[in-house]
């Protein structure tokens, strides 16, 4: 083994932070995200599962159950990692849900609901759906849209399936209505479904009106949750809607919301393809949302990412970091959520590992996704060790080792043959961009059911001319210049300065044909703009240059200058990694 290879491999992988431009320590303050808290809390819950604690809400005659205790531990861990109490409560509830806890049981006492359990564990007041924001999709809206539309409808027309004035004195709020055909066959399901449609439609409209593609999952959730604030959220329903002791109003209401959004009736778990009924999922999660307090946008981002274990993913709105795009790592919680789900279902570590490994196949850049998951798991272990990070590290360590080793050997061979760092990295960057183009063309051909023969990035560099600031001229993410050509169903489209000129012009003119064609390349461009989440290509080259004698600071600066697309934004860790490579090299005596 050449010493330069050893030094480079070790320096690049010495700390998780070295393989990304992300600021891992800041993630622990809750500033914008608290995903490491989600990783840690998932480990906390997993350890409780392994202790044999009962993850079930039951109609037992006791003040507190195992779930209350676990909820407190999970909430505490999330808050230690920067989560606001309401965000901690909501995330803990979502994790406990995937761990196998049912969302509700009992009427009237004990009437346990998972959202309320975690909210009370956090010691915070209840909230209202009108105050719950959506996750951020550039902009965001809130459940206010659903609540407003529902109350306007209630004011404008009579929505109950009977004339409420006819209800005799004394039966309002009694089992005469609530536990009989009147309530279970008529009032709750019929009114609930009407309200859910109104609320969900209003959410979709609000998204669109505010310049966003409507998030179907969030629209259905908040439409359902707003409805459950009005109709009985615990009632059983008539047999035509579902079986006694099994189906309650949340699922029935959610059925209408799901239909309204056009979501698929059945969704699947990543890596296992297990089927879940969408209406049941929406009903369950809407009930959690209704009860768990008032989260912030940051909390909603994390909450939504916990649901990225659903394979249908971002296309329907279940998080965004589960693939295919390689998002900034501060979104990533798919692996621990999925591992927790599997552990809760009874899967062993040996069974979890291949499933986690398989989930990387959902990304355009599989190797980068594996490395990203690995470094997050390793960083999360600083916060809370546990069975999930253990399994995830075992699942990703071979892939990470393979990816870094291949790059290290390649860099060594190229530089040994006389290439400069700039020449090496220029070539690596071009290959990286080309790999993304090929992967996106193949995947989007299937998704759009079109023949995307190729995507060619002709020019990709910082400085599109929208800004004159030096910083924007240096860093791709802040003013990206892209010339791209794509061939779709035999027709060639070519755009110059796509992001600063072609795309905004087409969108503002309402040029549907161009925007439809852009769908073929949009993901590839986004993938480039997110570059840096996993910066291994740049880090390995820079470390190799340092190991081969280049001044470490100079190596880092040159790498950042040449690899200015694939690290996209400034990287503090790059200099540390090159310095370490140089230090290691000096200490090797073989």
């Amino acid at each position: 083994m050449e010493r330069e290879i050893t030094a480079t491999f070790r320096a690049a992988t010495a700390k998780p932070d070295y393989l990304t431009t992300e600021k891992f320590d800041a993630m622990l303050g809750g500033w914008g995200v608290f995903n490491l808290g989600v990783w840690a809390a998932a480990n906390v819950i997993a350890k409780e599962i392994q202790k044999g604690k009962k993850l079930k809400l039951e109609v037992t005659n006791e003040a507190y159950t195992d779930v209350d205790e676990i909820a407190k531990k999970a909430v505490k861990k999330l808050m230690e990692c920067g989560a606001d109490p309401a965000n901690a409560a909501l995330s803990a509830a979502a994790l406990l849900y995937w761990a196998g806890v049912n969302v509700q049981c009992g009427i009237p006492c004990p009437n346990r609901k998972l959202g309320a359990v975690t909210r009370m564990a956090a010691g915070i007041p209840s909230g209202r759906v009108s105050s719950i924001p959506t996750e951020k999709l550039n902009n965001k809206v809130s459940g206010f849209a659903a609540t407003l539309a529902i109350y306007q409808a209630l004011e404008k027309e009579h929505l109950a399936p009977y004339d409420s004035k006819l209800l005799p004195l004394g039966i309002g709020g009694s089992p005469f209505v609530g536990h009989t055909s009147i309530g279970e066959d008529h009032l709750f399901p019929k009114l609930g479904q009407k309200l859910a449609r109104i609320g969900t439609r209003a959410m979709m409209k609000a998204y669109e009106s505010a310049g966003m593609k409507p998030c179907r999952w969030m629209s259905a959730l908040l439409g359902t949750a707003a409805t459950l604030e009005i109709i009985h959220p615990d009632a059983y329903v008539g047999e035509e809607y579902g079986q006694f002791l099994i189906t309650r109003t949340p699922e029935v209401v959610a059925t209408a919301a799901v239909e309204e959004t056009g979501m698929p009736e059945v969704v699947h778990i990543r890596g296992t393809n297990e089927e879940l009924k969408t209406a049941r999922l929406v009903g369950d999660v809407a009930l959690i949302l209704k009860d768990s307090g008032t989260p912030t946008v940051v909390g909603m981002i994390m909450f939504n990412e916990i649901f990225s274990i659903i394979k249908e993913g971002a296309a329907v709105g279940f998080g965004r970091a589960g693939g295919p795009l390689l998002l900034p790592l501060n979104h990533w919680v798919t692996a621990p959520s999925l591992a927790l789900y599997l552990l809760g279902k009874g899967a062993t570590e040996e069974e979890i590992i291949p499933i986690i490994r398989e989930s990387a196949n959902g990304f355009f850049q599989k190797e980068d996704a594996t490395v990203a998951t690995n470094i997050l798991a390793r960083r999360a272990e600083f916060v809370e060790r546990g069975p999930l990070t253990e399994a995830i590290i075992r699942a990703t360590e071979p892939g990470m080792t393979n990816a870094i080793s291949k790059r290290t050997v390649y860099a060594y061979q190229q530089m040994k043959s006389g290439k400069t760092l700039a020449e090496l990295l220029d070539n690596v960057q071009r290959k990286h961009i080309e790999t993304i183009a090929v992967a996106v063309a193949a995947a989007m051909s299937k998704t759009l059911n079109k023949d995307i023969e190729y995507i060619k990035f002709k020019t990709v560099r910082p400085g599109a001319g929208r800004r004159t600031h030096k910083f924007a001229q240096r860093h791709f993410a802040f003013d990206a210049y892209i010339d791209v050509e794509v061939k779709v169903d035999g027709r060639v489209y070519e755009w110059e300065n796509l992001l600063a000129k072609a795309a905004p012009e087409a969108l503002l003119k309402g040029d549907k044909e161009t925007m439809d064609a852009l769908a073929a390349v949009g993901m590839a461009v986004t993938e480039l703009l997110n570059s840096g989440a996993c910066s291994m290509d740049v880090v390995v080259c820079a470390c190799m240059a340092a190991a081969m004698g280049m001044d470490p600071k100079e190596a880092a600066e040159k790498a950042a200058e040449v690899g200015n697309v694939i690290i996209a934004m400034p990287s503090l860790s790059l200099k540390k990694a090159t310095q370490l490579a140089s230090d290691i090299m000096k200490g090797l005596d073989f």
Partner: protein, 140 residues
């Protein structure tokens, strides 16, 4: 209690949280097939006698998918059913056992349980109720 095959499949669909009724029949046939593989012929015959309709007809019409089986039925079911982890195969047994228990009397339930190999007997006991709702266990 006599129920129709459709009602039975509907119940299995609910117990297993399946999204399609077809999954219920697939699961029942998979479990029965595995049971036939791992049980001695006499035990298999006795179970046939004990099972009520419509389950008996499904048992009878389920073909043996393998002549010789190794290990317990769960491992076999995981492999044959393509389950991603063993606990998912165990859940399939629990769901089918639970649905049977709901339509049989306690004496016959006891007899079937005694005919099962110990790993499956444990699942049979655990299957007393795998209803989804936390309230249900309390009531059943």
């Amino acid at each position: 209690m006599v129920i129709s095959k459709e009602d039975h499949l509907r119940r299995v669909t609910v117990l297993g949280q399946y999204c399609y009724p077809e999954r219920a029949e697939e699961t029942i046939r998979l479990v029965f097939s595995c049971l036939k593989c791992v049980l001695p012929v006499e035990a298999s015959g006795r179970i046939l006698e004990l099972l009520p309709e419509p389950v008996r007809s499904i048992w009878e019409s389920t073909t043996l998918r393998r002549e010789i089986a190794d290990g317990d039925g769960v491992t076999l079911a995981k492999e044959m059913g393509g389950y991603p982890y063993k606990a998912a195969a165990e859940k399939a047994f629990e769901v089918v056992f639970a649905s049977i228990r709901e339509i049989m009397d306690d004496v016959k339930i006891r007899e079937i349980m005694d005919l099962l190999p110990s790993p499956l007997e444990i699942l049979f006991v655990r299957s007393k109720s795998c209803a989804l709702d936390g309230s249900a266990e309390d009531f059943l």
